[in-house]
């Protein structure tokens, strides 16, 4: 006989996520994932200036900040056939790499670490042994016995105050925590260090985009003009600042994040066989090095993997209407043609209609509709998106940089490649791609310097900025790899205004409810068979859900309340 448990709110994520799970014999037998907040931004975008869209959709998410804005300017540039100058592509790539470092480090330490690190147990650690351990795994200078002792004293005082603040009611002492006290103390110390570090790396966004969160983008390039002879422009001082920040970021990723990740993972190898889920992976690809349209020159190659078969990578086409489709069988929406059909985003139609229980309620009716997320499918398949998908596709495509980091991690942990298809694999892949982007960020930076040195200071292509130059009708697709996975926006511009704007977002792929055939999406599938030692303490559920790094505001933002049929798109060959 199974027992239904509810975890709501799932904390240490972006937004509002509810998990209901049936537990039988200490394992999860069935699971349901529900997004419980909606803002309907898509309707708000209708009729607005396409050049403004990046600012609106940027506000889809402040955690994956900048990435929706990037997708949006690409989408409009695609529609209007604008080619941005090489410097703008490099600056956008540098901001992208910065975002990866920031987002992944914050996820690891501030959103995920407390699933593995027992903060209270860290108080029992011997600072001297902690120091020896820290120095054996990294050259990071802050590792003296005094350093760890000071942090431990500070936290002891904090705990003794009886006001545990963000650590209140944590799962401290749970038997699923397996780290030695010294490793817990390292994790705790670096939790605090990473909190201070993260505010530094984003200064790259402030230099090029004026602020973070929500830096500014521009259709046609970037607004940050280069002038080496002006105090307030991108000059040698600003560039040196960026270079320093990127190097510091890389040092932190390589000397703190990766060693901690590997040290912690080595105590949780059993999680290399838990939380695998679908085994299908989808990547659109990103980091163009020869313009947005030359997908073969992306640093992150795109592609799809089915049934864990890394030897075969399928190509993905976002413009074909039988590839990406969205279903609403279990979502709080209505389709005019019936709720079981799947629609390509270009042809998307939506009418939000809540049909769940009247709040306050204890349980959702999971046999019916139970989420504000739609259910996207690729050629009918449920797909997982995110760092693991990217690393597997890069590996499967035979890219040497991916092979190098993956093979090294597997060797260091002494686990087979199948361990990647798991909760642990997801968490590890996030670290591996952080080290890749840390290096790539510096590479792009050096190319930017070389371009400027060679006399190219262009930063924006403004020839088609004036709406008077636009065709009466235009359609575009913008895609990116958000830190949480494959992200795409579709735009339809009519008479210089937005006629339709659609977004299919990473967490929508991962966290969506079941499809018309009852097929589970990634979160639900990954939770199946997850052990739960104590039904009242959802620690193991958090481990697997956090390994995806949920971003709920991203996943539910759109949709048209009036249920207008969105214009059919004629440029797609139909």
């Amino acid at each position: 006989m199974s027992k239904r448990i509810v975890v709501d709110p799932i904390t240490r994520i972006e937004g509002h996520l509810r998990i209901e799970a049936d537990i039988e014999n200490g394992k999860i037998k069935d699971a349901y994932s529900s997004g419980t907040m909606v803002r309907l931004l898509e309707e708000i975008l209708q009729g607005r200036d396409p050049r403004d869209a990046w600012a609106f959709v940027g506000r889809v998410c402040g955690v994956c900040t900048s990435i929706h804005s990037l997708t949006s300017v690409r989408c409009v540039e695609d529609a209007l056939d604008i080619t941005i100058p090489p410097n703008a592509e490099l600056v956008r790539n540098i901001m992208f790499c910065t975002q990866y470092m920031h987002d992944h480090v914050v996820h690891f330490y501030h959103l995920h670490a407390m699933d593995w690190v027992d903060v209270v147990n860290a108080l029992k650690a011997d600072p001297k042994k902690t120091s020896e351990l820290a120095q054996s795994i990294s050259h990071w200078p802050k590792s003296s016995p005094g350093y760890f002792s000071d942090i431990q004293t500070r936290i002891k005082k904090f705990v003794a105050s009886g006001q545990l603040g963000i650590f209140s009611n944590g799962y401290w002492g749970h038997k699923a925590y397996k780290l030695p006290a010294e490793v817990n103390l390292i994790g705790l110390a670096h939790y605090l260090e990473a909190l201070e570090w993260q505010k530094e790396i984003v200064k790259v966004h402030a230099i090029f985009g004026g602020k973070n969160p929500h830096p500014n983008y521009l259709v046609g390039g970037m607004a940050c003009a280069i002038n080496l002879d002006d105090v307030s422009m991108i000059n040698a001082e600003r560039l040196a600042y960026v270079g320093q920040l990127l190097q510091d970021g890389k040092d932190f990723v390589e000397q703190v994040y990766i060693p901690d990740l590997m040290a912690i993972a080595s105590f949780y190898k059993d999680w290399g066989a838990i939380g695998g889920g679908l085994g299908n992976y989808l990547v659109y690809g990103d980091l163009p090095t020869n313009g947005y349209r030359d997908t073969s020159a992306y640093k992150f190659p795109g592609g799809a993997i089915l049934n864990k078969d890394v030897s075969r990578i399928y190509d993905v086409d976002l413009r074909k209407d039988d590839e990406v489709q969205e279903f609403i069988t279990h979502s709080w929406y209505e389709y005019a043609g019936g709720d079981d059909e799947g629609l390509h985003p270009w042809k998307g139609e939506s009418k939000v209609k809540y049909s769940g229980p009247k709040p306050p309620f204890d349980h959702l009716d999971t046999d019916k509709k139970y989420s504000y997320l739609k259910t996207p499918r690729w050629k009918g398949h449920a797909m997982e998106v995110g760092p693991l998908a990217r690393v597997l596709v890069g590996y499967g495509r035979g890219r040497p940089e991916f092979k190098e980091v993956v093979d090294k991690a597997l060797k260091d942990l002494n686990v087979p490649i199948t361990a990647l298809f798991s909760t642990l694999g997801r968490t590890a892949a996030r670290g591996l791609e952080s080290s890749l982007t840390a290096q790539w960020g510096l590479d792009f930076y050096n190319q930017l310097l070389a371009n400027i040195k060679a006399g190219d200071t262009r930063m924006a292509e403004m020839g088609k900025f004036d709406p008077a130059t636009w065709p009466k009708s235009a359609f575009g697709v913008g895609h990116t790899e958000a830190p949480r996975g494959a992200l795409a926006h579709w735009i339809n511009i009519q008479d210089q205004k937005i006629a339709n704007y659609q977004l299919v977002v990473p967490t929508t792929w991962n966290a969506s409810p079941r499809d018309s055939k009852g097929g589970m999406s990634a979160y639900e599938a990954a939770l199946i068979d997850t052990p739960v030692a104590d039904e009242t303490q959802p620690l193991e559920i958090l481990r697997t859900i956090h390994s995806f790094d949920p971003c709920m505001a991203c996943s539910v933002h759109l949709y048209d309340e009036d249920g207008k049929t969105i214009n059919r798109v004629s440029v797609l060959g139909d």
Binding site: P9, E43, D49, K124, V159, G162, I166, A206, I207
Partner: protein, 375 residues
Amino acid sequence: MNNEIIPKQPTYYEEVERKGYSRRDFVKFVSLMTAFIGLEQSAIGQVAKALETKPRMPVIWLHFQECTCCSESFIRSSHPIVADILLDKISLDYTETLMAASGAQAEAALQNTMTKYKGQYILCVEGSVPLGADGVYCMIGGKTSLQILHEVAEGAAAIIAWGSCASNGCVQSAKPNPTRATPIHKIITNKPIIKVPGCPPIGEVMAGVIVHYLTFGVIPELDRIGRPKAFYNKRVHDTCYRRPFYDAGLFVESFDDENAKKGYCLYKMGCKGPTTYNACGVTKWNGGTSFPIQAGHPCIGCSEENFWDNGRLYERGSSFAGFGIEADADTLGKVALGVTLGAVAVHAVATNFGKSKTLHEHQAEGNESEHELES
């Protein structure tokens, strides 16, 4: 409601003493507590000291219709840094972004603070509350955000409305506001509410609001619409380092053009600095690194009410609907903009342009631009 004193909380020791326990009982308790949390007996002194120290201010931080950019901005603060705020200054007992506990344990932490510190805790709200469809567009733990807000606001000493969502509704309340996204002050009317608008607000400004209270024991002086004067009493335009170019009539005509590369004023590119009250020009962003105008993009006015519907991003002030008509006294920004623009034609000629050699050099160019603005 300004300068309202929020009740002081007794220390743990004071509380025990008031209940009639002796110092000896207290020391005994400390010793047990020390053992309980797994510390050596040598730490007893430390524990006793902590319990005799004033409790950190309890804070509950709720998340409704938002994108978490406010929480992200808060952790960007460089003075004080957020670790010091969390460990030494406040007790952030509930925040869905950072707290260790989820589900029932998170709910218990919330209830515990609401009960134990009734009338004493600060409620921070990030996000707007949807009133459409009886509130079902935002639900947490099976309750609507509206239900939760009413419950938690009841025992709050004061409320901080973080960001434009909680202060004025922000992007989800832009026309046609399909979920009826509503700012906090339109729902809770019997508590002091500090509005800290911006999308997001600057991290140091957020920390500054908290530090102001903790340092001076009163909430900061607010302006007539509830914003702390310390950070919102000047327009971005008035504190902008590019202001002299505006005064001289020197403008960027197109992104990345020669004038853009000289750092001229972005007014013609749609800059909303003349109508926006915020600290960007002075405090700047990310530890003073830069701010939007410094990075070449016009201010989009993200701290102003309804900024998503106050004209398009790249549309300059003179073409705003209703520009120059001082009809609506509540839209202070628009009035201010009218004054600014009215003055711009004579401004450069009458004053300032002789300020510096650079400006002199560009005088002719500036006059030409002004003619264009006038026409």
